[in-house]
Every structure is written in structure tokens, then in C-alpha cells.
Amino acid sequence: MEIYFINLKLFNFVNSSTINFSTFFAMENMHLKLKIWRQGGKFAPKGEFVTYELDNVSEHMSFLEMLDVLNEKLISQREEPVAFEHDCREGICGTCSMVINGHPHGPNAGTTTCQLHMRFFKDGDTVTIEPFRAKSFPVIKDLVVDREAFDRIIQAGGFISASTGQAQDANAIPVSKELASASFDAAACIGCGACVAACPNASAMLFVSAKVSHLALLPQGKVEAKRRALAMVKQMDQEGFGNCSNITACEAECPKGISVENIARLNREYISAAFAFEEKEDKGGGAG
């Protein structure tokens, strides 16, 4: 294990060179010890924790901006920066991941890593940062994992088969406000995989059930509900995700507050489909 000592200097401010921000910060100079999982590249292929010391962390930084600053320093020392995924940095794209002090997306409820701010940490804290860990999410490098298993589950049936141009008028089928709202609650899933990382069984039930619920609750999605539930669960099993044993850590760690009620709904859909649904092929041919 290597230890790097990093002393930060703030960068030149981009958009207003005349202003000195430092006088306005309540907490400008936090010192943190970061235990970060490094894997691949010049680090051990199976991974190891490397500890970095970081000074001058401002409470107004987001967690990822704190890592940006760490990386800028590593680059200035010609070290390889820590690989982590991120994009929108406003909590909606689902790209950012990582487990912070044992919690996917960090300790705050309803918050993605990119929305976590350093004001929730204290001077002198040790922060442990790891990738999401699950057999079905293999580590690519450092904190980056492969979550394409989720895409394949959606491809198995997480859609309504309505090709472009086939739609009727949008107001033709009224949908009660309550139902639309419940469907939205499930559709708010950002596909980040925190549920899997939180689950001791690495189960993807919350993710799958959110999609099944989103679509099954709407009249437009009812038609294919049974086929969808069966196909998605089959794919989920093939991807190697674990079973649900009602621990509900997924709900507790979900940054979008997706409820485990969805899992109950998935179970209902799945069981009734397993007993009642039989794929029937149309008899071919026609009179033409």
C-alpha cells in the first residue's frame, strides 16, 4: 500500500477572476484521508486500497469535485488519476456510482454521489471509497464497473411494443392521477445499480420491479405485463443477480427512493404470469 501526501492549491477561478471566494466559506480547509480502491492499470489486477491525504477541501464542493481536485493533483505529480464514472452531475443520468463509507452513493438518503456535498464531512475524516461490488457488475478499473446487465434486462422485455406512428391520441385513454403518479414513482429509477450494490445477495429485484411496475400500472403497458415480468426475471437470473430475501437495504440506499412495494408487485405479476401465461403462436398462413 502506498500513501500519497497531497497539498492542494485552489485553481484560478474560471468565470470571475476578480473575486476571492475564500472569505465566504464557512469551512474552507478540511483535511481528509481518502482510502480509495485502485484496480487495474499500474495497480494490482485484483485491486487494493490506496490512501491519499487531501487538504483544503471546501464544504461547498461536491464529492466528485473533491475527487476532481485529487485527480488534478495526481496528474500534476504525473500519477495516474482515479478512474470514476460521472456525467450529468445533477443526480439524474445514473452514471456515477461508488460506495462511500459503506453506502452506495454515500451516507445521505435520496442523494446520488454527484449531489453529495462535502459539508456533510468533517475535518480529519477518513473516507473509504470503493466500487459497487456485485458479481454481475465486474470492475473495469478503480471505481468503474460494467452495468450492461441492466441494459440486457430491459432488452428482454422492459418496454411497451409501440412502434413509431402506431399511437392514438394521447388523451384517448384516461389514466387516473393516482395511477400515473404511482407509475412515475417507479419510473424515476435512474438505473445506477445502487440497489444491487446495497444488497448482500446482489439482487436486482428493485431495479427489475421498478420497470415492471412503471409499465404494468399503466393501461398502455398492461397488455404485455405478464410476458414482460417473465422475460425480465429470466434475464435477471441469467445475469447472475442474487435472490431477494426481503432485507430492503435496496430501498434504504436507493437515491431515488424507489419503494420495495414494487418488489411485491413484481412477485404478484410474476407468480400470476408463471401460472397463467402461456405464449401462444398464431397459426400461420391466411386466406390470401
Binding site: 473575486i19 471566494f21 461536491s62 488519476p81 473495469i140 450492461e148
Partner: protein
């Protein structure tokens, strides 16, 4: 070069219908033989790839994300416009067309905008059929709200996450086509060049971001749906990976970049807090339905707020300046974005800003909370509710409408916006400029199409709120799948293209040369530090207000910085065999330098003010934008061949047969 927009003849209202009914088709058996590459998986890309797959073409879709669902369309908050007239408030296709043309300050092509308005209603139908959970009323029918620059309610929304829900709808349709085998998906692949064979776009060079390997992909046509270039400013509301590379490399191969100086600065974003800032967060325009924008009237009050001695609640009503309501009584807080942004800048320039930086104005919900609270209390039969009850009820209504935005604001700033007005400031948000395309959405390179934000066609010099989602999906679902047939109908006998031909090999070698140049620089400065410096030049000299002197300076500064970049950039790691996000960034920033310079040149050329392009030399006495229709009612489409020669301007004159060019007034 003569630019032919290929707008069909006939009445505006009949152009699209007639054109669609008479354009050449590709028969189903021939579609199977034709390959199409779609680059990008946002609203335009996913919608196009799914629709083309449904039609029977062989589609390859590329994204640099780990999943097509991550595209930045997902971050759009407020809503999507459609001329459904479900409110019975006088909306129509013509009115949506007119609002969009006027909102764009008369710098968009009439026929394209009319078609956009025409297909808008079908988008809502399609999205509902896909399971997009739009907001509904108690009767089960769809709800609407208002957005800036219009006087009807035509915006459909799904809480503050409309983009997310629409993108998931498109992503699911795309996923269905992937499962059926009609679309092959390439995640974590970035397009680094377009390949031309006999002058037509026939493929791309893509880099596998996990292995660093360069891949050659051939097809009969290439569709770019790669988004906008707002990140040239470094700080913007765009996601971190948004970039101009796919579009810019096409320009380097001969495509034209149109109106690059038309960038949108969105008025309501969370202000910059520090020098480590990596991006800016938008607060949806929908908030201006209910939020009132103000600053203190007195400079001493503003100074006391900035130093922490006073806060918003200490300023009595009579000492507040609701400057949008004062300056623009007809539209009030719902003036278009360019107008609202400039007004906020003027207030802050006058020393009335309310953040420690001096760069923020208030967005205040107390009046709305009061109004909703009172109405809710009345509904409950409580006609003498006390103030506390009213506020509690009102806050609940506001939470239902904007809860996720308020929560996001609180997470970032640590302040409760139900109790204390939000602080907001304009930030770069969207780019109206983009690849020049004709009515078919085809660039001047045959076979190369551009859809969504990466083309220039529909928003003129300023985009209205809730119109980006509309345009992305219109292009992807309802325009491109038809118009691409025009090109492909000539190719039904063309065999598959060989990715090992000389053109592909040469393009790959060119890309490798660019990568080697960056890797071999082995300088001292990070890519990020160069990007920040470029962004600072762009924001200060080519941002909300521009002038000839600043733009001239900016061009020189960008050129110098670009030279320094190639000498002194340090890209760690290796180009192959490893995942190297720093190299990805370096390639993008390299292209931002050239794009940034072209934006400055375009801004310098356009000696008028219109929409988001405000030249300080050209303004009315009241400080409003002063257009010059006699000399600048044209699309400025630029070709760019390298550092040694100036970009060349090609003009497409804008012909207005259906609307009268008026000075844009929201007063």
C-alpha cells in the same frame, strides 16, 4: 458554395404533407440491405435508431456512455411543447410555429419550424403509448403548464423530470429493437471521424473507450445526433462528457457549421460557488410560472446581503425591484430566456446582485405559496385560515409541482427555498447553432444527416423553453426516418461498403495521428486546466454580451492557448490497452479550441444583436437587442479547413413568406 435548403414548394401548411406523400420510398425488401449508423443515443439518436430499426433498416447505434440511457437529454426538466390545444386557449400549429419563429428572433427557416409544430402533437401521442407517465389531472387527462415566450399552456411535463421520462421511453423502444436484432448497440464507443467515399458519408472511425482500439464501421448513411457544444464554455448546465467532436470532425471533412455564435444562456441556474466548480445546475424554467424574479432596489441593501448582514426577508416589499415584471409587463417573469438572462446581468452589473460573488438574483416563491395556500384552504372550506395554515398548504402545492427541483436546490446550496428565495444566475445551457442541414436534415455532405441539438435548424437565435425535447423527438421519430429514404432510395443497389478500403484506412491513420500527438506532448499542464482557461475566454468575451474588441482579442487568445495546449498538455496513461478518460477529454478539448475560435469569428461577423447573440454595439436605447434584417437575415454556414486559413462564410438567405419580421417585443 451555393446552399440549397431544399424546401419544397407550395403553401407552408401543405409542404410537409405533400413532400412526405411524394418522396421516393425504399421498399421493405431493400431496407434490409441498407446499413445506417446513428451516433448518439439521446432523444434524437435513440428515437431515430429505434424508428429506423422498426422500418427494417440495419442500424448500428453508438454512444460513449456505458448505456444509451445516460445521454444528456435525460437531464431536461421542465417539459415538452405540443400544439394539442387541450387547454382550449387558442393554441394551434400556426401559433406554435409563430411563437418559435419569433422566439428565435427570426433567424430560423420557416418551413422547418412549421414542420416541427406540425409533428409536435404526434410526439405526445407516441410518448404516451410508450408509457411515459406525464402529469395528469383528476379526470385522467393530460395536464399542461406555461413556458417562457408564449401566452398559451402547451407544455406537457412529468414532474421536473420530463427529459428523463421521454428518454427512457425512447431508450425502451431502442432496447426493443436491439432485442429484435435490427439495431446493434455499441456502448462506450466514441466517434472520432467520419469517412467519406466518393464524397458521401459511408462510415465512421470509433474508438472503443475500454480498450483504446480504433474501429472502422461502414454503412450507407451516417446520422449524427450528438448534441450541442455548450461545454466549450467549460462551465455549463451540460453533462461533463457533452462535446462537439463528432460534429466538428465532420466539419473538418467538409460539413458546414451554421450560426455557431448562437448559444443560449439560461437565466435560472444555481450560481457559481467556487473555483473548483465543475458544472452548473439548472433550475427549470417552469419555476418562472410561479417564481418572481427580483433584486433590491438599493445598492446598499444588495451590499448588505452580499456581506451577510441582511437576507432577502429583511428587504421590505417596497424596496424590491421585480425587474422582469417592471420591464416586460405583458410577459412578466415568463419572458424568453435570452431576455431574462440579459436583464439579470444588467441588474448585477448595476451592483444589485445578491450572492457574495455579486452574480445572483432572487427567484421568490412566497407570493405563489400564499396564493396556492389560500386557494387550497378555500377548497377545504376554510375561508378564514390563518397565515401559518395558508403557508403550510401553499408549500405543499408548490412541493407537488416542483418538489424535486427544490430538493435539488437545497442539496447543492444548503438553503431551504420554501423559506428563503432561491438565488439564481444565468449559465450556458444550449446551443442553437450546429451543423448546417437542409429540409431533409442532411448536411452538405451527401449521406451525412444531423438531428436534434447538433443541427442548427429550428431555434434561430434563441430557443424557447420546452422546445428542445420537441425538436429532438420530432427529428428522430417523425422527420429523419422519412427524409433519409430520399438519399437511400438511390442506394438500393449499392453493396455494403468495405471498412478495409483505402478511405477507411486513411481516416483511421488520421485519428491515430491526433491521438499520438496528444499522448506524445508529455507537457506539464492537465487537460482540465486548459479547458477551464478556454471556458473563461469564451464566457468573458463571447458570453452574454459581446463586442468587436473583445471578440478580436478572444480569437488571438484562443489561438495562443491552442498552441500552448499542443506543446504543454500532459495526458497520463496509454492510448491503447486501458480505459483512459484523460485521453478522451484531451481529444474533446482539442476540438473545442477550433470550435471556440469559429464561434468568435461568427459573433464578430454578425454585426447585429439577435436572440442569444447580443453585440453591445447594436442595441436600442432601452438596451434591447437591435436586429439588422436588411443585412443579416441569413444563416451563416462556415467551412473550416485548418489553422492556416480563415474559415469561409457561406450564406443561406432566410426567406420569410408567412410571417412579418417585427422587432421582438415582450413588453
Amino acid at each position: 458554395m451555393a446552399l440549397n435548403g431544399k424546401v419544397p414548394a407550395g403553401n407552408l401548411t401543405e409542404k410537409w404533407t405533400k413532400y412526405r406523400a411524394t418522396m421516393p420510398l425504399v421498399a421493405p425488401n431493400n431496407k434490409r440491405r441498407l446499413d445506417i449508423i446513428v451516433v448518439g443515443s439521446g432523444l434524437a439518436g435513440a428515437a431515430a435508431a429505434a424508428s429506423l430499426g422498426e422500418l427494417g433498416y440495419n442500424v448500428k447505434c453508438f454512444t460513449f456512455h456505458d448505456s444509451p440511457r445516460r445521454a444528456h437529454s435525460i437531464a431536461a426538466q421542465g417539459g415538452i411543447n405540443a400544439a394539442k390545444n387541450y387547454r382550449n386557449d387558442g393554441d394551434s400549429t400556426y401559433r406554435l410555429f409563430y411563437d418559435t419563429i419569433k422566439g428565435g428572433d427570426y433567424r430560423a427557416r420557416e418551413a422547418n419550424v412549421y414542420r416541427l409544430a406540425e409533428v409536435s402533437a404526434s410526439i405526445i401521442d407516441q410518448a404516451v403509448a410508450q408509457g411515459v407517465p406525464f402529469a395528469r389531472e383528476y379526470g385522467g387527462l393530460l395536464d399542461n403548464r406555461s413556458f417562457g415566450g408564449v401566452q398559451v399552456s402547451r407544455t406537457f411535463y412529468a414532474r421536473g423530470q420530463t427529459g428523463q421520462q421521454l428518454l427512457i421511453g425512447a431508450y425502451q423502444s431502442l432496447s426493443r429493437q436491439i432485442s429484435l436484432g435490427s439495431v446493434e448497440m455499441f456502448n462506450r464507443h466514441e466517434m472520432l471521424d467520419v469517412v467519406l467515399v466518393d464524397g458521401k458519408a459511408r462510415g465512421i472511425i470509433a474508438r472503443n473507450l475500454l480498450t483504446g482500439e480504433l474501429e472502422r464501421h461502414a454503412a450507407h448513411a451516417v446520422v449524427l445526433a450528438t448534441g450541442g457544444y455548450g461545454n466549450v464554455f467549460y462551465l455549463s448546465t451540460n453533462a461533463m462528457m457533452c462535446n462537439v467532436t463528432a460534429a466538428w470532425r465532420s466539419v473538418r471533412r467538409g460539413a458546414l457549421m451554421a450560426n455557431p455564435c448562437f448559444t443560449q444562456i439560461h437565466p435560472t441556474c444555481i450560481p457559481v460557488s467556487g473555483d473548483y466548480q465543475s458544472k452548473l445546475t439548472l433550475m427549470s424554467e417552469s419555476l418562472r410560472n410561479d417564481g418572481r424574479v427580483w433584486v433590491p432596489q438599493k445598492q446598499e441593501d444588495a451590499a448588505a446581503i452580499r456581506s451577510g448582514h441582511k437576507n432577502a426577508l429583511d428587504i421590505p416589499e417596497e424596496d424590491r425591484d421585480y425587474f422582469l415584471e417592471r420591464r416586460y409587463p405583458a410577459f412578466g417573469n415568463l419572458v424568453p430566456r435570452d431576455v431574462a438572462s440579459r436583464a439579470a446581468k444588467i441588474a448585477c452589473d448595476e451592483g444589485l446582485g445578491v450572492a457574495p460573488t455579486g452574480l445572483a438574483v432572487y427567484l421568490d416563491f412566497s407570493a405563489a405559496i400564499e396564493r396556492y395556500g389560500r386557494s387550497k384552504a378555500n377548497m377545504q372550506g376554510n375561508h378564514h385560515a390563518d397565515q401559518k395554515t395558508i403557508v403550510e398548504l401553499g408549500e405543499r402545492v408548490v412541493e407537488e409541482k416542483y418538489g424535486n427541483l427544490f430538493a435539488m436546490y437545497e442539496k447543492i446550496t444548503g438553503e431551504n427555498p420554501y423559506k428563503m428565495p432561491m438565488k439564481i444566475y444565468p449559465a450556458v445551457h444550449y446551443t442553437m447553432g450546429g451543423l448546417w442541414v437542409d429540409y431533409n436534415l442532411e448536411t452538405n455532405i451527401p449521406g451525412l444527416f444531423a438531428a436534434g441539438e447538433c443541427n442548427f435548424s429550428d431555434h434561430g437565435a434563441n430557443r424557447l423553453g420546452a422546445s428542445a425535447l420537441m425538436q429532438g423527438l420530432a427529428d428522430g421519430y417523425f422527420v429523419l426516418p422519412y427524409t433519409i429514404g430520399n438519399f437511400l432510395s438511390n442506394d438500393i443497389r449499392t453493396p455494403k461498403f468495405d471498412p478495409n478500403s483505402a478511405e477507411f484506412v486513411q481516416a483511421e491513420a488520421d485519428v491515430k495521428g491526433r491521438i499520438d500527438q496528444l499522448m506524445n506532448a508529455q507537457g506539464k499542464q492537465s487537460v482540465e486546466s486548459f479547458h477551464r482557461r478556454l471556458g473563461k475566454i469564451m464566457w468573458e468575451k463571447c458570453g452574454m454580451a459581446r463586442n468587436a474588441e473583445g471578440l478580436t482579442q478572444a480569437r488571438r487568445m484562443i489561438q495562443e492557448l491552442r498552441e500552448e495546449f499542443y506543446k504543454d498538455v500532459f495526458v497520463p496513461g496509454s492510448a491503447t490497452g486501458d480505459y483512459n478518460p484523460e485521453l478522451e477529454k484531451a481529444l474533446r478539448v482539442a476540438d473545442f479550441f477550433e470550435m471556440g475560435e469559429l464561434m468568435v469569428i461568427d459573433a464578430l461577423n454578425r454585426q447585429e444583436s439577435c436572440g442569444g447573440h447580443f453585440r453591445e454595439e447594436y442595441q436600442t436605447e432601452e438596451g434591447e437587442a437591435l436586429r439588422d434584417d436588411a443585412n443579416y437575415a441569413y444563416v451563416a454556414a462556415w467551412s473550416y479547413s485548418g489553422w492556416d486559413t480563415d474559415p469561409v462564410l457561406h450564406k443561406e438567405d432566410l426567406v420569410f413568406e408567412n410571417v412579418e419580421l417585427k422587432s421582438r417585443s415582450y413588453k
